[in-house]
């Protein structure tokens, strides 16, 4: 059974230099003092890295993980940004406050991404609360660029840790499966809101797409070829073409160009 101490010693401390080097652009140029990476699979396997092992030591000694809303089953997460100001438990807020006092780290901005059977998160702790809030105001895309860079550079280490098969249930027990209060905006609310503003046709067309079709359209808009999309979604290129054909029919589009412009409109409305 894995323990917190093992994780800290065998990963955070041992690979400290390598991790700090990759985190350096964020800490040197964006005033982000601490970056944590967490990947959680549906079967509770997890990968957890940090550039600040002493902070994790403290986190463990104070048992913050007991009230941490992020060490949970992937089903509880929605992709996007999150920043636990008002919505998290009093307990967790108190813990963050202590960490802030001891290490000068402010409430993290968390970037959440979802895969088919996992969720991954980057928590960015600024060295002042302004640093991180203002960074988000103008440059959320830089954090995404950084996230890609981090995963690329640390890929071998991330794979190694994933292969170890550490289980979060060892560390969290059954609370791994209990929901923390979810404060995200529900999809139904978004649809109802847009319909009230006269966007009924768009909502209906977008919701006629299956989740696979939506994935393919989203990746098409990112500029993926059918082949790229196929690799990313673990499908054959012909299946991807088939899905995109369906999307074209459902949205009444003649060509790819029209598909792209309708897709971008959906994207702007937050419907993809």
């Amino acid at each position: 059974m894995v323990t917190w101490q093992e994780i800290i010693q065998c990963y955070h401390v041992k690979y400290y230099n390598q991790i700090s080097k990759v985190t350096k652009p964020a800490s040197d140029l964006l005033d982000i003092a601490c970056v944590n990476y967490l990947k959680i699979c549906n079967d509770a396997r997890f990968v957890y890295l940090t550039n600040l092992p002493e902070c994790v030591e403290y986190y463990v000694s104070e048992q913050v993980y007991r009230c941490d809303p992020y060490f949970k089953h992937p089903d509880f997460f929605k992709p996007g940004f999150s920043w636990e100001e008002n919505s998290s438990s009093e307990n967790y807020k108190k813990c963050l406050f202590k960490i802030n006092n001891k290490f000068n780290l402010y409430s993290p901005l968390v970037l959440i991404g979802k895969g088919i059977n996992y969720v991954e998160m980057f928590s960015f702790f600024g060295s002042s609360s302004e640093a991180i809030q203002t960074l988000h105001l103008k440059y959320p895309h830089l954090l995404k660029v950084f996230a890609e860079h981090y995963k690329r550079e640390l890929n071998p280490l991330l794979n190694k840790m994933e292969e170890e098969g550490f289980s979060l249930i060892d560390l969290q027990g059954e609370s791994f499966y209990t929901d923390s209060p979810d404060s995200s905006i529900k999809t139904e609310s978004i649809y109802a809101f847009l319909i009230a503003l006269g966007k009924k046709a768009e909502v209906e067309r977008a919701s006629s797409l299956s989740s696979r079709e939506r994935d393919c359209l989203r990746l098409l808009l990112r500029g993926n070829s059918a082949k790229d999309t196929a690799t990313e979604l673990n499908l054959s290129p012909r299946t991807v073409e088939f899905y995109l054909g369906n999307v074209k029919n459902k949205l009444n589009c003649n060509g790819k160009r029209e598909l792209c412009s309708i897709g971008r409109e959906f994207e702007n409305l937050g419907l993809l």
Binding site: G80, H149, S225
Partner: protein
Amino acid sequence: MLTWNEIVQKYVVGHSDRVKTIAKPLMDHLRVAEFFYVRINHQGQLIWLGNHPACSEWYIDQRAFIVDPCMKHLSAWQSGVSLLEVIAPSFRKNFMMEVIDLFDFTSSWIVLSKREIDFVELFGFIGEKGSPIEKVYLNHSNLLKVFAEHFKKEMQPTIRQMERESISLADLMGKDFYSGFRTIHPALDPATYQAFLEDCGMRSQMEKAALLSERERQCLKLFLLGKSAKETAIDLSLSPRTIEFYFENIKNKLVCQDKASVFGFGRELENLGLL
């Protein structure tokens, strides 16, 4: 000349029922308790509407406009989505803190600003206590933009009328209107931005983006929006053949084989803020 009180009574209170009806989707689905609209032009002409008369009356009582960045000369603003407490800490200290308790608001207030050459429009969204307004700010600001357009369309007659009646902030506030209030819009300096991208392994993208001329950049942006060469030509007042010529250049400069790969690479550059 109208006084602040008369303005609130005549416009904000007078139209609040109509604004409430339009803002109902905000309350029903996003739990926004107060919505306000402010438009100020270069000369200080003010248009001000809102759905929460009690809060507006309190605002006037407290003379909060003195510290409110939303009632200052438009040079304080850029376009974007911000949190008022972050860009205007003194307004937070001197007004927001009190109002939050008084009216059960969230401590985060979202402002969507649209800066045009000679006026600025501000749309304010304040959540009811306990509502996930930060999540709206972080992930769904597009919804607020859709609402802003909807609101302007629905309220156009009223906005026109206020335009004609021309209330002047410069008259109301005197030199306070111009008093060196600056909202904080921190920006990374371009060198830091570049260095960051380079450290994250984006060097070749940056070099390729730098090769594009201004015209080529415009064509690429319109192409990414899904426009055809013909539509792009009309938008830029050029001939379609010129557009095709630019497009060939773009393809060569970005080392792309076909339109599909230009689209992909172009989106990547857009996401990096390099277009």
